[in-house]
């Protein structure tokens, strides 16, 4: 599998558990933390190599939601976003280099959830 270069214009998908949503419907930064610290190697899917439905279906829990983030956000925060395909998921990518929690709070604030009724989440 050829490794793609991820540009600022790309979009990333990140699954979010239902209990990681804030009361106002935004995404909690907890969705980006590992053991209470900024996850130094955060898994995401590269949008142009998958579909929202396919990405969401990787969650076993049917209440999971799907968030979309412009790659420009982590890149602008000084993080590295690289394509890292794995078996069964060619879109798998990593956001690397986070050292402070504020970086992920800002990423959470910039993440937009797909509406559950979105046609993009419809099963074909």
């Amino acid at each position: 599998m050829e490794v793609e270069r991820i540009e600022k214009e790309d979009f990333l998908y990140r699954r979010v558990a239902a209990n990681q949503l804030n009361p106002d419907g935004t995404v909690s930064s907890a969705a980006f933390k590992l053991h209470g610290k900024a996850d130094p190697s955060l898994s995401v899917d590269l949008a142009r190599l998958t579909t929202p439905r396919e990405s969401l279906d990787r969650a076993r829990n049917p209440t999971s939601r799907l968030g979309q983030l412009n790659a420009e956000v982590p890149i602008g925060l000084g993080l590295t976003v690289r394509h890292a395909p794995i078996e069964g998921n060619v879109s798998h990518s990593l956001v690397e280099g986070a050292t402070i929690k504020a970086q992920y709070r800002m990423m959470a604030q910039a993440t937009i959830l797909f509406d559950l009724s979105s046609p993009q989440l419809a099963r074909s």
Binding site: S28, A30, G36, K37
Partner: protein, 172 residues
């Protein structure tokens, strides 16, 4: 009603019973802490029922609950989160009222994050797998927020940070 419906009904009933039992346990933590500190009951344990129900749901998470391999928070972490929330309510609810109640509670791998939010700032407190506290403080809440963060702090330090957003020092 077929066999699957009956099974589902009994499963839901058992889950509800377990949840109610867990909420009762957490409310008992409140009463114990109030007795321990000899605090005047400035709030009713029922005030925290929605928060404790969220904690009870988090306590039931299974391995890989986030589809990225997350660990479920331990019972000790859930208990520590409940104790923190009660300590904040006891200290601040007499003057801050509803603002002393957490704005959001969310799990991360192995732990729980509790967030307080006011017009002047927000404080995320992480209760990590070993029970240690970490935090991220955001002050300003405008187009130019200021951040401060740290790890391995004690409860008293967490309470001082919460005081900064619940009782901000007047400028000038």
């Amino acid at each position: 009603m077929d066999a699957a419906d009956v099974e589902h009904y009994f499963w839901r009933a058992a889950e509800t019973q377990r949840l109610q039992h867990r909420v009762a346990e957490l409310e008992e933590i409140v009463r114990q802490q109030q007795r321990h500190t000899n605090a005047l009951a400035s709030f009713s344990p029922a005030t925290l029922r929605p928060t404790f129900e969220q904690l009870s749901h988090i306590a039931k998470l299974e391995p890989d609950w986030d589809s990225y391999g997350a660990d479920p928070p331990s019972a000790a972490v859930i208990g520590e989160a409940a104790r923190l929330i009660v300590a904040v309510m006891e200290r601040f609810s007499p003057m801050a009222g509803e603002s002393a109640r957490p704005w959001a509670v969310a799990p991360f791998s192995g732990g729980v994050q509790v967030e307080w939010r006011t017009k002047t700032g927000a404080l995320e407190v992480e209760i990590r797998p070993g029970g240690q506290f970490g935090y991220l403080l955001e002050e300003g809440m405008d187009s130019n927020p200021r951040y401060e963060e740290g790890d391995d702090i004690h409860l008293e330090e967490v309470l001082r940070l919460i005081a900064r957003i619940l009782q901000p020092t007047p400028k000038g």
